[in-house]
Symmetry: C3
């Protein structure tokens, strides 16, 4: 097998070619690409920047449709040669994402559960492996898949009020895939990551900063603006060089996921179908509903 | 070779099967399994928890017999299906372990030294690779092999008084095996680990906490209770999922050890037999005895 | 392929043999090996220590000649069996090194640029892979290649006044090679390294300490003395054991560089020859000259 560093200069040279070709002929129509679950907009000032907003009411739970829309949105931005960066955020202040939608895992056929896992892998790789600068503007709780997509980005800014972030799915008996524990270790160090992913730890914003789960915290109402202000620092760097290094740092994990992804889908889907896991999911869903009903409306 | 993540779901499914089978028929007789060097007891309240106490007078120096008893104790707890966690501690407050017993390395035959190394590898792997939650209650100095077993655990609580921990054997000219420098790097980060294992650094309790060598420090008389209080957090997580992640994080190092373990035994034993290393060991032993004799009795 | 840990004991035993052979017959003539760009001197008190001083006026920019002299100096010290440690420092307080000399990259033939890259690889490997204890006494700004050589050492002491260190070459569109991003990750952790190498971050001395880029900071006029004081701690450890561990920690990266080094030279030289990169270099050079001219003389 060719070591991943070989592929590097090929892509550098390709990017250099591309950057000298005519990008003006490309018609931008990103703002019209919004689905009901994901909106993509051009930034008003920074023309290289797209804003990807999760907008599935009420708390951006990831169902296969949202995962698909999200993946397509990333790919569309990538294909726009003018775009060099994307901010990922939520339309609902206080709620970045509550993770996978539990009913998508409950009482489904094996094939349906496999489909969910396939989209989860594909969408995460689309964020983790993109040439774009990726900045997570975590404007609220980021639970499970919410945290997964945030840690796939290059940079994370989180609201400093008492919001929570963490990979919690193990609490229902579903271990996070190795690519998430690996990326957690890249951010937290191996021992802290080992504890966090085995215990399903939820970090408050301040704990998230201290542990390296996020790069910065600011008041909720400044998260988005701070994310925009971070962008020029990254755009100052020539893309072909930044992407070459991003590839050096990330390609080997991407390759490992690709090697085992079908087996992983089969195994995780089989696990989710187990009666005791189904019971755990049903119980978690019941608790969520009870909590909702107990809230004053 | 099959990548280690493939083996993951196999073990998940096996663990799930096991957890639904009849565990009640299993007769527990752990508390009677104690040898003179290691005692294993059921926790009085948490039935899933075993307490493994090192009790070789006066300072738990590891000879082949203690290493063997220790390994067997871990294996026995593992085979008890009710047990899910183990606390490893010392019967002697202030002295967790002083490391390998020097006379076991001095004036022995090559075969005897090889035997010691084999047990050291086997016992460390039995801790590092166990399905059990492993918590080190470091109630005193943890020198050399004492630190080695502690860092093989999932979690470490150390007495906060001025106790010392570190991998010091390099001072006699014996480099720690690569599995210990790797696991040190997992806890301390690579540069701090590089310094610690090359210089044989001893850390005070507070330095150990700051550097990530231990997860928590508390007063000596609270170490054991704090370790017990840590257990439920880990038992809350379904075993099959926790173990799957532990395997993701640890299997590749275990595989690497297994690939080279016979060569390592041969090489390390040959090194220990070198005249200058024998002199270093003799000198260290002499210093220890002089220090003992100078103490008021 | 033989895993790198196999080669370990071979070298241990060879070093042991060597340390018992007659080292006195070796004639030391290090102090006379100085070229105009690099000076090598014996330490006055610690006979195992050599001092390697960069002395290319005015700011130690690395041209092929300096890289070659530097590499040869390291190799010469290595061949002196009495020498066990080297301090790398600059003859010009306030200026450790300004990195590669830009004219060496501008308007040159492909073969000339390749030659520069070959020496850069070779010189970095000579530092990173040496049996010697390597201590960087960073007595001033350490930019680009200046930082590269410092992070290849075992230990770094930096002047605490507001000096700068960092791998900045990406700002001209040249990505650092994977071996530098890997070693940065060993010091800073992966996420902090990812930011630093993608953004070409310059750290002040205090930031360098906080982030693990250096091990210690002291006032400029104490940097060299502090580096000398650090040496005995490392010389206390038997070389064969320290080197065995250093090899465990560093050999796999060295092997990876060696596998791809010719391809890397070809690709990086081709990149540097690209018109837009040549423009970036010309622009950076112009800015440097303007800055110089604007200074009161």
């Amino acid at each position: 097998m060719v070591p991943h560093q070989f592929s590097r200069c090929h892509s550098i040279l390709k990017m250099l070619e591309r950057s000298t070709s005519t990008t003006n002929s490309f018609t931008r129509k990103l703002s019209s690409d919004s689905s009901s679950y994901v909106s993509v907009q051009d930034d008003e000032e920074i023309k290289e920047l797209a804003i990807l907003t999760l907008q599935k009411k009420p708390i951006n739970t990831f169902c296969p449709n949202l995962l698909r829309d999200f993946t397509i949105a990333i790919k569309n931005i990538e294909q726009d040669k003018i775009k060099r960066a994307v901010i990922i955020t939520s339309a609902f202040p206080g709620r970045f994402s509550a993770g996978l939608v539990l009913p998508s895992l409950l009482g489904k056929t094996l094939e349906e559960v496999k489909e969910l896992w396939r989209w989860l892998q594909a969408s995460w790789l689309s964020v983790y492996g993109t040439r774009l600068v990726t900045i997570a503007a975590i404007n609220g709780h980021a639970i499970a898949a919410g945290t997964a997509f945030a840690i796939g980005c290059d940079y994370r800014i989180m609201a400093e009020e008492d919001y929570l972030a963490g990979l919690t799915v193990i609490r229902m008996g579903i271990p996070v895939p190795f690519w998430l524990s690996t990326q957690m270790a890249n951010l937290l160090g191996k021992q802290e990551a080992a504890k966090a992913v085995q215990l399903g730890t939820l970090f408050t914003s301040h704990q998230a900063l201290e542990n390296g789960l996020v790069d910065e915290i600011v008041p909720l109402n400044r998260v988005f603006e701070k994310a925009r202000q971070e962008v020029p620092r990254w755009l100052d760097i020539p893309d072909h060089a930044r992407v070459a290094i991003k590839q050096d740092l990330r390609q080997s994990l991407i390759d490992r996921v690709n090697e085992v992804k079908d087996v992983e889908v089969d195994q995780n889907a089989a696990l989710v179908m187990q009666p005791n896991i189904q019971q755990n999911i049903a119980r978690a869903l019941k608790r969520l509903k009870e909590r909702k009903n107990n809230k004053p409306s």
